[in-house]
C-alpha cells in the first residue's frame, strides 16, 4: 500500500511565487521588505479567516457576518489601548480584551442568529448579512462614525535595519504571532482529542454524533474561538493600518472569502497557505504593477480554482 504523503505542492507553489518575485523585483532588499510585508498581511488574514473556514467545514454555516467580529475586535482595541495607556505593556491585556469581547459576541451571535437557521443556506446568507449591517450601525452608535486612530505602541513603530533591508517592527511581530497561532492550531488539531473531533466533524458530522459526541457543542466552541481570533485579527489589522473604520470587517471579508475558497473550505492548512499567497501576491503585484493590484487576488483565486476546483487542500466530506 502506498502511504499518503502530505501534499507539499501548494507549499512549493508558495516558494515558487516568492522566488519568482525575486527574479522580477531584482533588488533583494526591496524583495525582503515586500516579502515580510506580504507574510505579515497573509498571517493577519489567516488569524481572521481560520475560524470561518472551520465553522463552514463543521456545520456548513455560511457566516457573512464574520467581519463583525473583526470590526468589534478593532474597536475594542482602540478603547482598550486608550484605557491601558497605549504602551507595549498595554498591548497584551488589550488584545486579550478584544478576544474576550469578540468571543462573547460570537457566543451570543451563534445562539441568537445562527442556531435558528442551521442547514438553511439562503437564510444564513440573508440573516448574517443583515446582522452585519445592524452591527455596523451599533458600532456607529457606540464609537461614532469617524475614523479612529489606533496607534501602535512606541516599541512597535519604525523599522529594523539589516544592511539595506528595512523591516517594520510591527510586521515582524505580526509574522511571529501569526506563526505561533498557526503552530498552536496545528498542534491542537493534530495532537489532541478535541482537534481530532473537529477534523472528524468537518469530514462527517453524522458519524461523529453516532459515536456519542455532541457536534453542536463542538461547533459552538469552534465558533467562539473563531470569533475571538477574528477579533484579535481585527485589532492587529487596525494597528497595521493605524486606523479603524466601521467598514474594516466588511472590507476584510472579501480577502477572507478568497483565502478560504483558495485553501479549500474547512481546511486550516489550506487557509494558512491561501492567506500567505494572497498576502504575498498583493504586495508583489502592488509593487510591480500597481494598476492590476486590485484584481490580483481575484485572478489568483481563478487560477487556483482552475487548477484545483476544490481548493489547495480539499476536505473530503462523507
Amino acid at each position: 500500500m502506498k502511504a499518503e504523503r502530505f501534499d507539499l505542492i501548494p507549499f512549493v507553489l508558495l516558494a515558487a511565487a516568492t522566488l519568482g518575485a525575486l527574479a522580477l523585483i531584482r533588488t533583494p532588499s526591496t524583495w525582503v521588505t515586500l516579502t515580510v510585508a506580504g507574510l505579515a498581511m497573509g498571517l493577519l488574514i489567516f488569524i481572521m479567516a481560520s475560524g470561518l473556514t472551520l465553522v463552514f467545514g463543521l456545520m456548513d454555516v455560511m457566516n457573512f457576518a464574520h467581519g463583525l467580529f473583526i470590526a468589534v475586535g478593532a474597536y475594542v482595541a482602540v478603547t482598550a489601548m486608550k484605557l491601558f495607556g497605549g504602551t507595549l505593556a498595554a498591548l497584551a491585556p488589550a488584545l486579550l480584551a478584544t478576544m474576550l469581547m469578540a468571543g462573547a459576541l460570537g457566543l451570543v451571535f451563534e445562539r441568537v442568529i445562527i442556531r435558528p437557521v442551521y442547514g438553511q443556506h439562503l437564510k444564513q446568507i440573508l440573516i448574517t448579512t443583515g446582522g452585519m449591517i445592524v452591527a455596523e450601525q451599533l458600532i456607529h452608535v457606540l464609537w461614532g462614525p469617524d475614523l479612529l486612530p489606533l496607534p501602535r505602541p512606541e516599541p512597535l513603530r519604525g523599522a529594523l535595519l539589516f544592511g539595506d533591508v528595512a523591516i517594520e517592527r510591527f510586521r515582524l511581530g505580526a509574522v511571529l504571532l501569526g506563526v505561533l497561532i498557526f503552530v498552536a492550531m496545528a498542534l491542537t488539531l493534530n495532537r489532541t482529542k478535541l482537534g481530532l473531533l473537529i477534523r472528524a466533524g468537518v469530514e462527517n458530522k453524522e458519524m461523529v454524533e453516532a459515536m456519542g459526541y455532541r457536534i453542536r457543542r463542538l461547533f459552538v466552541g469552534v465558533f467562539v474561538a473563531g470569533s475571538a481570533l477574528a477579533g484579535l485579527g481585527g485589532a492587529l489589522w487596525g494597528m497595521y493600518q493605524e486606523a479603524v473604520t466601521v467598514h474594516i470587517g466588511a472590507q476584510m471579508m472579501v480577502l477572507i472569502f478568497i483565502v478560504i475558497i483558495i485553501g479549500g473550505l474547512g481546511s486550516v492548512t489550506g487557509c494558512f497557505v491561501g492567506a500567505l499567497l494572497v498576502g504575498l501576491v498583493a504586495n508583489y503585484v502592488g509593487y510591480l504593477a500597481p494598476k492590476v493590484a486590485l484584481g490580483s487576488n481575484i485572478l489568483l483565486m481563478v487560477i487556483i480554482l482552475l487548477w484545483r476546483p476544490q481548493g489547495l487542500y480539499p476536505v473530503g466530506k462523507s
Binding site: L196, A200, N204, M207, V208, E209, A210, M211, Y213, S318
Partner: protein
Amino acid sequence: MPSDLLKLEGVHTRIGQYHILHGVDFAVPRGELTMLLGRNGAGKTTTLRTIMGLWRASAGRIELEGRDIAQLDTPAVAGLGIGYVPEAMGIFAGLTVRENLLLAARNGPLDAARLEWIFRYFEALKKFWHLPAGNLSGGQKQMLAISRAIVEPRKLVLVDEPTKGLAPSIINNLIAAFAELKKTGTTILMVEQNFHVARSLGDSVAVMDSGRIVHAGRMAQLAADQALQNRLLGLSLEAQQ
C-alpha cells in the same frame, strides 16, 4: 429464551414527504446476533438509522432495556452503549487508523488487550496503524468501521451490510470476527443481503418488506425452510445462491 435487549413497537418513520417505516415491530434478544433481512428498499437501513436517532421515529416505541429511546438524539443513543457501523462505513478518511479508533474510544484511552483481540481478526489495521484511513482498501475500511464500533465493549452493535462489495476471503474473515464477537456476549443487530453470511451468523431473524416486519423467528428455522425463504426473500435470495 434470552430476554430482549432491544424492542421496537409500532415504529413509524417519515423522511420529508415519504413514509418509510409503517409500524415496525421486532425484538433483539440479549447476547444474540439478529439478522434484519429483506429486499432493497424494504426499510432495513431506515430501521437502523431510526434506532440510532439519525432519523426520528414519528410514532412508536424503541426500548433499550425497557427504556424508551425513540426520542433521544443520536449522541444520547450512542452514549447508552450502542455502536453503529453504517452502510457507507463512515470512516474519517483524513484521520489515521489509530485516530479513527482513538475517537471511537469514548471512555478513555485505547485498551491494549482489546486492540490485540481486534488485530487477531483484522491484521491489516495493525499494519496500517499510522496511515490515513482514506488509503485503505474497501475491505480494510470495513474492518476499521467494525473495529470502531467494538473498540470498547458495547451493549448493542448495529451493523449495516458489512459484506457489501467485499471479496469472499474478506467476507470469511468478517464472519470469523463476528462469530468471535458473539462469544463475548455482545448483542448484534445486522442488516445483510448475503444469505450465506446471514445463515452462518444469525441466531434470530426479522424479515422486512415495504417498511414492515413480515417474519420474525429463529434463523435456523428460516435456513431450513426453502419455501419460506423464497416467499420472504424472493429474488434477493436467488441472487445470492
